[in-house]
């Protein structure tokens, strides 16, 4: 797979080599070689069943939690293979945050405790540090002003869009380097979606973002680079503008022009 010219010589944040993933005897991902650039938004798109969600869940070692799941190949985070035999999945997941399709705040915890959920895992008890982290993360998720007076309310008491931003804040609180987003706006209304897209544009300054989306317009609005998957294989990877206006592969072109969904 030829590299986009703008990425020549750039050290990728995440690099997969021959990444295969599946369940029992069927492979969903059939060998992916992809270099994800740092501090950029990379969109992963393709028709249903192409393996885009599976790919992303391999990056934070979530895929293997499903009974019967299988993974082969390498995924290098800053050059280190997260699937190395001695690597600790808990440490890996700490460095990679994830936001899911349907917002999933912890309903038995307050907004405050939702945000610090990841921090308290590591034993952080200092109230000042936690308060600081809460404010910072909620600001970073564009949620602070809306909830600063009701931090002790349940995490589930917010609207859908606010819940999703809460989940983003929760992910940001542990200071990850990579943020994985699996169709984060598909359960939200257009206003909430716009807010989150605005957020993503800001977040890429500090994080490497990989966003799965089936929405072509969103991909072209939000991402710098786009990877197009089809039936478990990586078909094309290029700068978003180039891929959308001048796709190199026929398959890509047919997908973009809506010839199949």
């Amino acid at each position: 797979m030829p590299e986009p010219t703008s990425l020549m010589g750039v050290q990728p944040k995440f690099e997969t080599k021959g990444l295969k993933a599946g369940f029992r005897s069927t492979w969903v991902l059939k060998g992916i070689d992809l270099k994800i650039p740092p501090n950029r938004v990379t969109a992963v798109m393709g028709p249903s069943g192409c393996g885009k969600t599976t790919f992303v869940r391999c990056l934070n070692r979530l895929h293997e939690l499903t009974p019967g799941a299988t993974v082969e190949g390498e995924a290098l985070l800053d050059g280190e293979n997260i699937y190395d035999r001695n690597a600790d999945p808990v440490a890996v997941r700490r460095r990679i945050g994830m936001v899911f399709q349907k917002p999933n705040p912890f309903p038995t915890m307050s907004i405050y405790h939702n945000v610090v959920a990841g921090l308290t895992l590591n034993g952080e008890r200092d109230k000042k540090k936690l308060d600081h982290a809460v404010e910072q993360s909620l600001r970073g998720a564009y949620l602070w002003d809306e909830v600063k007076d009701k931090l002790s309310n349940s995490g589930a008491s917010l609207s859908g869009g606010q819940q999703q931003r809460l989940c983003i804040a929760r992910a940001l609180a542990v200071e990850p380097e990579v943020l994985l987003m699996d169709e984060p706006c598909s359960a939200l209304d257009p206003t909430a979606t716009a807010k989150i897209e605005e957020l993503i544009a800001q977040l890429k300054r500090d994080y490497t973002i990989i966003i799965v989306t089936h929405n072509l317009q969103q991909a072209s609005r939000v991402s710098d680079y786009t990877a197009f998957f089809y039936l478990g294989k990586l078909v094309e990877f290029d700068e978003t503008a180039t891929l959308f206006e001048n796709p190199k592969e026929e398959l890509t072109e047919r997908y973009i022009t809506g010839k199949f969904g």
């Binding site: 979530l62 939690l65 019967g68 999933n104 038995t108 959920a117």
Partner: protein, 317 residues
């Protein structure tokens, strides 16, 4: 849940009406039984209710020869044995449920085998647990467990009595064995009902398996687990035969956990037929009435809690 198709308008077949009436009567019968239970138990204990009033449950003397029947010692006995059963049974039952639910899929065969084994525990009739308890467990308690407890913990009143093995502690242990399947089966359903997205959210923050269980799964399921506990409590309170064999059958107020005693249930079974005077019969029926009310309250709350959690009105026991 399948809904029944609405009947079409127009003349209904007479067969429909007959069927509905007949099976409706059966459904009515179920309610009639529960109501009848309350009514008959009250009427059957009338003599005793009149004679002792509230003193029945507050007094501590049970003396058939002098026609005095008070049941406080036995309420205490039921409380102590049930509390013991819950204390021991909840962690074990919950542990089993966590194992079956959270580690499912790692080795599917093992899970189903163990699950069936624990369910088999529930199928063994309680009288057999009682027999085993008397002939196998009691000697062990008497020779090893209780003397040790008395030596090291005897300074507290709790363990300060002669260790004969036939006592509230042994009864509590047998009850524990009996309520473990109840607690674990219901808890398992409750844990399975926790959405996977909660677990995934916690995992992606960088949590270990146990941390995910403790911080994401258990809090979410807590009202259901509480319900499972109460169901276990109901089972412990209502259990008769397993307790009868090992509880020591003493009508005096128990002074420690290793004193012999009675529970409300075992009292009825053991004292039945020892005298044939109407007052003692009425007193025993009144014990049944007390149990009836206890069981109603406990059952009602348990169901409410678990139903809310699993969103269905049916669950295994």
């Amino acid at each position: 849940m399948t809904a029944s198709p609405k009947e079409k308008g127009g003349p209904r077949s007479r067969g429909d009406l007959v069927l509905k009436a007949v099976v409706g009567a059966a459904a009515l019968g179920v309610i009639a039984i529960l109501v009848g239970l309350g009514v008959e138990l009250t009427s059957g204990s009338w003599l005793s209710l009149k004679t002792f009033g509230l003193g029945f449950i507050t007094g501590s003397t049970w003396d058939p020869y002098h026609d005095i029947f008070n049941v406080f010692p036995f309420i205490l006995g039921t409380l102590i044995t049930s509390a013991l059963a819950l204390l021991l049974g909840l962690p074990i039952g919950l542990g089993v449920a966590i194992f079956l639910s959270e580690r499912a899929g790692r080795t599917r065969g093992l899970v189903t085998a163990l699950g069936s084994l624990v369910e088999l525990l529930a199928a063994v009739p309680s009288v057999i647990y009682g027999l085993w308890g008397l002939l196998v467990l009691v000697p062990v308690m008497r020779e090893y467990v209780e003397p040790t407890l008395k030596t090291y913990l005897g300074f507290t009143q709790l363990f300060n009595a002669a260790p004969f093995g036939l006592d509230l502690l042994t009864a509590g242990v047998v009850l524990t064995i009996m309520i473990i399947p109840t607690i674990s089966a219901v808890s398992r359903d409750v844990l399975n009902a926790v959405p996977n997205s909660q677990r995934e959210a916690m995992y992606s923050l960088g949590a270990t398996d146990w941390e995910v269980t403790r911080k994401a799964v258990l809090p979410y399921a807590r009202s259901g687990i509480f319900g499972a506990t109460i169901l276990g409590l109901g089972r412990a309170v209502g259990e008769t035969m397993a307790v009868t064999f090992v509880v020591g059958n003493a009508t005096a107020l128990p002074t420690s956990i290793i004193s012999p005693g009675y529970t409300l249930t075992s009292l009825i079974v053991n004292q039945f037929g020892t005298t044939t005077d109407p007052l003692s019969d009425a007193a025993l029926v009144e014990v049944g009435l007390v149990l009836f009310m206890l069981a109603l309250v406990i059952n009602f709350f348990a169901r409410l809690l678990v139903w809310r959690m699993t969103r269905s009105t049916r669950f295994r026991v």
